[in-house]
Every structure is written in structure tokens, then in C-alpha cells.
Amino acid sequence: MSVVHEFTKGFYKQNPVFKQALGLCPTLAVSNSVESALGMGAAATFVLLCSNFIISLIRKIVPAKIRIPIYIVVIATFVTIVDLAMAGFLPALHKTLGIFVPLIVVNCIILGRAEAYAGKNNVGLSIVDGLGMGLGFTCALLLLGAIREFLGNGSLLGIPILSANFEPVLIMILPPGAFLTIGFVLGFFNWLENRRAK
């Protein structure tokens, strides 16, 4: 169990979105542009890092029977911090993400890592795990956000890439586009995995 492995597993091998299919609700909802994908990824990474840290600190004094409510309280604390900080410093982004910032509380990646990892491992490894998973989640969001913004708006990070003659595929930044994109990306990763196994 090397530290490097604990960090890198979140990017591909155990990527929360593409391999574990966790946290799909925010993934589908906020991946319509690179900017909101970045904002969501950063917020979730911060919460994941801090909650993994605190939960692994207190893991030995938390009674097993009521561990879930305690984890939720810890997570909610950090989500509140993110929510208020974002509303204060990045009001435009806060408005775009809307309800999905408070909803990080119930994001199953974060609770999943608390339950499966931070509750069982020491503080150092939990921080590395939280950071790796959070960045892996951010990468997944960025990939989807880039595909959708490029096709649906002809731009990346709000900067127009394609010529004005390109008529954007509007459906890609609408909800159906999220399902189409994630379906094809998941299919691609499965295909990759199958090829590797052969």
C-alpha cells in the first residue's frame, strides 16, 4: 500500500465517476461548461480532503452504530464553509452551481471515501486518498465539461474555439447531452479496459 498508489488510484483505476459510477448527479448537472466543472471539482476536492482528514482523526472514538450521522455532520461543516466562501468570493460561479454546492453534503463519493477509507486508515493516507479521489473527480468533470462545452457552445472556458460558422449542438449543454456524453465516455473506458484485458 504505497502512498503513490493511494494518490493515483483516483485518477484512473478507481476513478469515482468512470470506474465506480459514484456522484453521477452533480457530474451530470454541472458538467455543461469547463468553468462550472472546475468550480464543482475544486469544491468537492476541498470537502473530500478536509472530511477525510477529520474523520480519520476521530475514527477511533466514533461509535460504529452512529458513525454515518457523525460523518455527515463533519462533511456538512466543510460544505457550509465552501458554500459561504464561494458566495462571498465567487458569486457568479456560486449562482451557476446553485443547489449543487449544498448538495455536496450528500455526494456519495465523499461519504463513500469516509466510510470505505478514512474510517479505517491513518491520517496521512486518508489525506492522500481524499486528494487523489477529489482530483480524479475533478478530471472526470473537466473531461465531460470540455466535451460538452466544445460541442454545445463551440468554446472552452468561455473562449470561442471554433469559427462563427459552426452552429453549436445545443443539446450537448442541455440535460440530454449530459447523459449522451457520459454514456459514450463510460463506453469508451470500458472498451479500453476490455482491450487491455485481452
Binding site: E167, V169, L170, M172, L174, P176, G183
Partner: protein, 346 residues
């Protein structure tokens, strides 16, 4: 050994129909409406039809090659999908749109699920829904259909609302008269009256609309041929159209119940095209007797609700797509009793 000698278990029924035979017959039945479209909308309609078909067949052949499946792009199903997709776009769309729509219809509507027979939804309608959601402005600008010599560029066309568009906005005005001037309300009433007086134009197809949906008479000729050949049944189209007619007669009027004009609702929009050619798709409609009745009724209800209350003036395509998704449930729900079998609770 003679290839016609098969050893198989029962049922020993021999049908002379094959997929290409059925598909090409349906394509043939759609030809009159296509000729009508070229007559009304000019040669541009022909280009759109050809591009859509070529794109559909090319996409299917390419994907079958990539997926290492046997090449069946010429079995007619891709041609039919392309043709139906072309019939479902406005005649003024840019020429790349039918190509993109056909690609989406075949790639996402059909091949992703495993090819012909595995698609849960009608691919052509899925392509149309994709185009409508992606480029709504192109898909909802309709040109008036008048016989013309026509130019290939199609610049000489006049834009005009479809009858259902006019009806929707007029009914919107009549529903809230206090928000509009008396002049506007009077005009809205007159517009509806004019629509109801032009039923002969609707029947012949001299109206604005998608390429293949306007001419009711030409579509009916093809449908009658398909019914004679027994490739489409009566249950889905008749219950579909009947439900729309009944609901529009009861709730479609502006002066209370039972004042609607069912004939207008039957003849306008894509109802005839949808009911006879797309709702009857063998893959995506139920196989049981009762299932087909429910399927048609459901399509009719959703169509009317969208036309009367929803945001779009026309709801045939969405109603068929939604009912396509219910098809497996309808089949399971209406599974006939096994002959000689008993009910469970006996």
C-alpha cells in the same frame, strides 16, 4: 443439399417476408409523399431526402465495419430511417442538418443498442428530436408550400407558420382576451376560422410543414398499400388518430366542450405520417392485440396534450418516442393467456 430444406422445431410456419422486402415496400409506399414534397417545396426537398438516405446508409455501413458485424446496411432499414428523418425536417434546413440527423439516428438511435431489432425507440424520430433540441431555429422555420419550378438554392421561398403554429398562437390569444386588444382577439378568431375553411389544402398538402408530412392524400395512398400488404395493422394508426380526433372534438374548441374541429387536427401536422409509418414500426411497437390498442391510445393522448397545453405546436414525434419506451411494459402487461393454461389465483 438443397438450401430450402430446413430442419427445425415447431411452429412450422413459412413466411415469404424478409427484412429487405418489408423495408423496401415501406420505402416504396413513402415515395408518393416524397414526389409531392418535391412538387410543393422544390428540388431542395429532393436534396434533403438524398442526403439523409446516403448519410444513414453510410453511417450504418461504417459502424457495422467498426463493430465487426455482418454488413447489412443495404437491407433497407437504414434507407427507411434516412427517408423518414428527411420527411421530419423543415424544407428550409441547411443541407448539413439531414446528414447530421441521420448519423445520430443510426449511431445513437440504433447501432449503440445493437442494431436493427434492438433499438428501443424509432431511430428517425430520435434523430428528429436531436435536431429539434439542437437547432430549434432551423427546425421551426417553415416555408409555404406552393407548386414551383424552384431553384436548388431555395432562396425564393417564403417563410410561413404551420397551421398548428397559427392555431396555437391564436388559441393562446383567445384564452387570455384581457391581455390583448379587441382587434387582436378578433383577428385570432378569424385566423382559426380561416384554418378550418382550408381543410382541402391540408388534405392535398398545400401548407407549410415538414417535408413529408404535409400531403395527407399521398401518405394515405402509401398507407393503404401497406395495409393491403399487411405490413402495418389497423390497431395502432386507427386508435392513435381516433384518440386525437375524439379529444380534439371534446377539448379542442375555444368556446367550451364539444366545439373542437377533429378533422383539422387529423389533417394537420405530422399525425398521418406518424400514425401510419412511425408508430407502426415493428421493432418499437407492442406485439399483443391489447398492447397495440393501448399504444395507439397513449400516443393520441400525449399528442393532443402537447398540441393543446404543451410548449410545442406539434407533439406526434414526442408522443411516439414516449410510447416506444413504454412498449416493453405494455407487452408484459398484456401478455395473452397461454392456451389451455390457468389463471394464477384459481
Amino acid at each position: 443439399m438443397d438450401k430450402k430444406y430446413f430442419v427445425s422445431s415447431s411452429p412450422h410456419v413459412f413466411a415469404n417476408d424478409s427484412i429487405p422486402k418489408i423495408m423496401y415496400t415501406v420505402v416504396l409506399a413513402l415515395v408518393p409523399a416524397g414526389i409531392g414534397a418535391i412538387y410543393y417545396f422544390g428540388p431542395r426537398a429532393l436534396w434533403i431526402i438524398l442526403i439523409a438516405i446516403v448519410s444513414a446508409v453510410a453511417t450504418e455501413a461504417l459502424l457495422q465495419k467498426l463493430m465487426k458485424r455482418s454488413l447489412t446496411a443495404w437491407d433497407g432499414s437504414a434507407i427507411l430511417t434516412g427517408l423518414l428523418l428527411a420527411y421530419n425536417v423543415a424544407p428550409s434546413v441547411p443541407l448539413w442538418m439531414p446528414a447530421v440527423g441521420s448519423f445520430f439516428a443510426i449511431a445513437v438511435g440504433k447501432m449503440v443498442f445493437g442494431g436493427l431489432g434492438y433499438n428501443p425507440m424509432n431511430p428517425a424520430l430520435l434523430g428528429r428530436a436531436f435536431l429539434l433540441a439542437s437547432w430549434p431555429t432551423h427546425m421551426t422555420i417553415f416555408t409555404d408550400a406552393v407548386p414551383r419550378g424552384g431553384t436548388v438554392s431555395g432562396i425564393d421561398m417564403m417563410t410561413n407558420a404551420t397551421p398548428l403554429n397559427v392555431l396555437k398562437s391564436a388559441q393562446g390569444i383567445l384564452a387570455n382576451p384581457q391581455q390583448f386588444t379587441p382587434e387582436q382577439t378578433r383577428e385570432a378568431g378569424e385566423a382559426i376560422g380561416k384554418l378550418y375553411d382550408s381543410l382541402d389544402k391540408l388534405f392535398m398538402g398545400q401548407i407549410g410543414g415538414c417535408i413529408g408530412e404535409t400531403s395527407v392524400i399521398l401518405l394515405l395512398i402509401g398507407a393503404a398499400y401497406l395495409m393491403y400488404k399487411r405490413y402495418i395493422g389497423w390497431k395502432v394508426p386507427f386508435t392513435f388518430i381516433g384518440t386525437v380526433a375524439l379529444l380534439s372534438w371534446i377539448f379542442g374548441g375555444t368556446e367550451g366542450l364539444f366545439t373542437g374541429n377533429p378533422i383539422f387536427h387529423i389533417l394537420s401536422g405530422g399525425l398521418i405520417l406518424g400514425a401510419f409509418y412511425m408508430a407502426t414500426d415493428m421493432v418499437t411497437s407492442p406485439v399483443t392485440f391489447r398492447g397495440r390498442l393501448y399504444f395507439g391510445i397513449g400516443c393520441g393522448m400525449i399528442t393532443f396534450v402537447i398540441r393543446r397545453i404543451g410548449g410545442y405546436p406539434e407533439g406526434v414525434s414526442y408522443s411516439i418516442l414516449l410510447m416506444n419506451l413504454l412498449t416493453p411494459l405494455l407487452d408484459r402487461w398484456t401478455r395473452p393467456k397461454v392456451f389451455g393454461g390457468r389463471k394464477k389465483n384459481e
